[in-house]
C-alpha cells in the first residue's frame, strides 16, 4: 500500500433500522485489503457506534475512512445539534436517546466509550446548533 486509500459514505439520518450499513461495508473492504483481524474489528466497532450516533442523535451526515500505511483514520461529520457537555457524554451510561430508539436496543450510553476504547486517538469537535465532527485513528 503506498497511496492512502479512501472511502466516503453518506449516512442517511432517517433509517434507524438499517443503520450500520456503512460500517459493514468498511469491514468488508478492510478484509479485502487483507488487514489484521483485530484492527478490522476495532475499526468496525468504533465506526459503527459513530455511525449510529449520527443517525439517532444528528439526523445523518457523512463518514470518511482512510487507510494510511501506519493507521486507519475515521472521520464522522454531522450537522446535528452538537454535544453540550462532551465530558458528560463520554461517561459510560449517559444517554439522551428517546424511548422509541431505546426500544431498538440503543441508548445504553456505551457508544462513545466504545469508540474511545477501540481507537488509539479520538478527537471530538462539536458546536451547539452547528454539528459534530469526530476523528478517530486506529494504529496498525
Amino acid at each position: 500500500m503506498s497511496a492512502p486509500l479512501k472511502l466516503h459514505f453518506d449516512i442517511d439520518g432517517e433509517n434507524f433500522t438499517s443503520a450500520g450499513e456503512a460500517s459493514v461495508k468498511v469491514k468488508k473492504w478492510l478484509r479485502q485489503l487483507g488487514l489484521p483481524q483485530d484492527i478490522i474489528r476495532r475499526v468496525a466497532i468504533a465506526m459503527y457506534e459513530g455511525e449510529i450516533n449520527m443517525v439517532i442523535h444528528a439526523s445523518g451526515g457523512y463518514a470518511e475512512v482512510t487507510v494510511f500505511p501506519d493507521r486507519i483514520e475515521i472521520i464522522l461529520c454531522d450537522k446535528g445539534p452538537g454535544i453540550k457537555d462532551v465530558e458528560l457524554a463520554m461517561q459510560a451510561g449517559y444517554s439522551t436517546a428517546p424511548e422509541r430508539i431505546r426500544s431498538l436496543g440503543f441508548g445504553a450510553g456505551m457508544g462513545l466509550p466504545n469508540m474511545k476504547a477501540n481507537s488509539d486517538t479520538m478527537k471530538i469537535n462539536t458546536e451547539i446548533g452547528v454539528g459534530t465532527t469526530i476523528t478517530m485513528t486506529v494504529n496498525m
Binding site: Y48, L104, A108
Partner: protein
C-alpha cells in the same frame, strides 16, 4: 462445537443458517447493542431477545458465530433475508435467556 451442532444439541429452531460449520468458541448475552458491541467476542453465540435489523449489523460487525434469539423472539422475513445475505446464523428457542445461557455454557465446557 459448530453453530449447526449447537442448534441440534439444544433443539434450536433454524431461522437462517448459512454457515453451520462456524465454530462456537464462547457466549455472550445482552440486549443493549452497544454493550454487545463492547463485549461480544468473535466466535461467540450471542443470546438476546432483541429482534430487529440492528441485531444483524451487530452480529456481523462482532463476528459472532451465531445469534440465538431467546423466548421465541423472531426476526421478520425481510430482516432474515438480510441476515442470509450478510451470512449471519440466526437460531431461536422458546427458552428464556438465562436457561439458554446455562445450556450453552454446559455444552461449551
Amino acid at each position: 462445537m459448530t453453530a449447526g451442532e449447537l442448534a441440534q444439541e439444544l433443539s434450536l429452531n433454524i431461522l437462517c443458517l448459512p454457515h453451520p460449520e462456524r465454530e462456537v468458541t464462547g457466549g455472550f448475552a445482552g440486549d443493549l447493542l452497544s454493550w454487545v458491541m463492547g463485549g461480544a467476542k468473535e466466535g461467540d453465540a450471542w443470546v438476546t431477545i432483541m429482534s430487529n435489523l440492528n441485531v444483524v449489523a451487530v452480529a456481523s460487525l462482532c463476528d459472532t458465530a451465531c445469534v440465538v434469539l431467546a423466548s421465541d423472539t423472531v426476526l421478520d422475513e425481510k430482516d432474515l433475508k438480510t441476515a442470509e445475505e450478510k451470512e449471519i446464523n440466526v437460531l431461536n428457542s422458546p427458552l428464556p435467556e438465562f436457561e439458554l445461557c446455562v445450556k450453552i455454557g454446559e455444552l461449551l465446557k
